[in-house]
Symmetry: C2
Subunit: 187 residues, 2 copies
DNA sequence: GTTGATAATTTCAACGTTGAGATAAAAACA
DNA sequence: TGTTTTTATCTCAACGTTGAAATTATCAAC
């Protein structure tokens, strides 16, 4: 709900421009008063502060959505990565590590749990026996299919404030930022 | 830490339009082939998938930046929240909980560590003795000041691909999304 | 074939967060 | 006054991730 200004001391701000503001506007407003010397250096916060906060908010949203369906967020990540890889619906642990941006220990842990749940199964590689293929089970397949439709509908709902053109423009800018941070195509 | 995969194997892309692609483009491409029935429902991923991925990437970036300076990411969060609150540079634990979007246990833990480091000190409220004021120490003040300048410079560097108008447009859209997700300021 | 280097995965302790319950003080009501 | 409800913080076990070390397998060179 309300962030920043835990104190009601902001009633002094009189330059009211009735625009709807979010928590980052509040934060920038506080900085402007406390450190006026930094006013001209605060502009990156308008973007990166919001991205940071959206990251936390979205993760919570998606985690709750997954929990309602008996899944951990990282587990859905593995399931959907497997399904979109296409037949035979199996990938190595290393592939998951890159796709999910987590360390190897996290992947081993996730696969352990998901194997216990019967969502995936480990298949030792026939050629390279160092690698282990993670294969989607029939149960995992079914759950992923059902989940995916609901997930996309939920995402569409979250983007209701935007029309398609705005979404496309937003997506383009976010892509440029991702690329500049080194998040290039996986394939 | 390798989200590398930046192999130049696409020097001879055959069917793609020469646009630079990121990991989300790859993911959407995979879905389009594996689940063509969902093609028209994938558009939210262009935005939310990128926001999710940017959230992870930015958190890693900021965490590494903090670690180089001997701070946990959450600790810098507390420090800067305190400093921008202005004199007397003290806030309650509850204020931090809202500002940082974390649970009470996390705040207690952070304050414990930061108190041990001498960055903040607990001051039991004189009026309401349930609440505990967290006050910035002189050492905490100094560290925050130094950190902040470097942090803003780092953020500006990350936004180098954009001009100011693009940043403003991006910020506006992100604000709208935050507000629609309930991240509003005091009205 | 044996050695050495490289590669993929697993193990495991340390760490931070979660979330429910405990503790304690203040406020509301009798 | 005493009782109940509400509010603020702390406690603590469970959980997932990290990151380095260990394990096991492949490959290259001799």
């Amino acid at each position: 709900m309300d962030n920043a200004t835990a104190d009601p001391t902001d009633t002094a701000t009189d330059d009211a421009d009735d625009a709807i503001t979010d928590s980052i506007d509040s934060i920038i407003d506080l900085w402007t008063h406390e450190r006026p010397d930094l006013t001209d250096a605060l502009w990156p916060v308008e973007v990166l502060g919001r991205l940071q906060r959206l990251g936390v908010a979205l993760e919570k949203e998606f985690r709750a959505f997954a929990a309602e369906r008996g899944l951990e967020l990282g587990e859905f990540d593995v399931l959907s990565t497997l399904q979109r890889s296409g037949p035979p619906y199996e990938l190595t642990a290393g592939a998951f590590r890159k796709a999910a941006m987590v360390t190897s220990g996290a992947i081993t842990n996730r696969i352990d749990r998901m194997e216990a749940k019967g969502l995936v199964e480990r298949v030792r590689g026939t050629e390279d026996r160092r690698s282990v293929k993670i294969r989607l089970t029939e149960k995992g397949h079914r759950i992923t299919r059902d989940y995916l439709t609901a997930h996309l509908a939920n995402e569409a709902r979250m983007l209701a404030p935007f029309d398609r053109e705005e979404c496309a423009d937003l997506a383009d800018k976010l892509r440029r930022l991702l690329v500049s941070l080194g998040d290039t195509s996986i394939t």
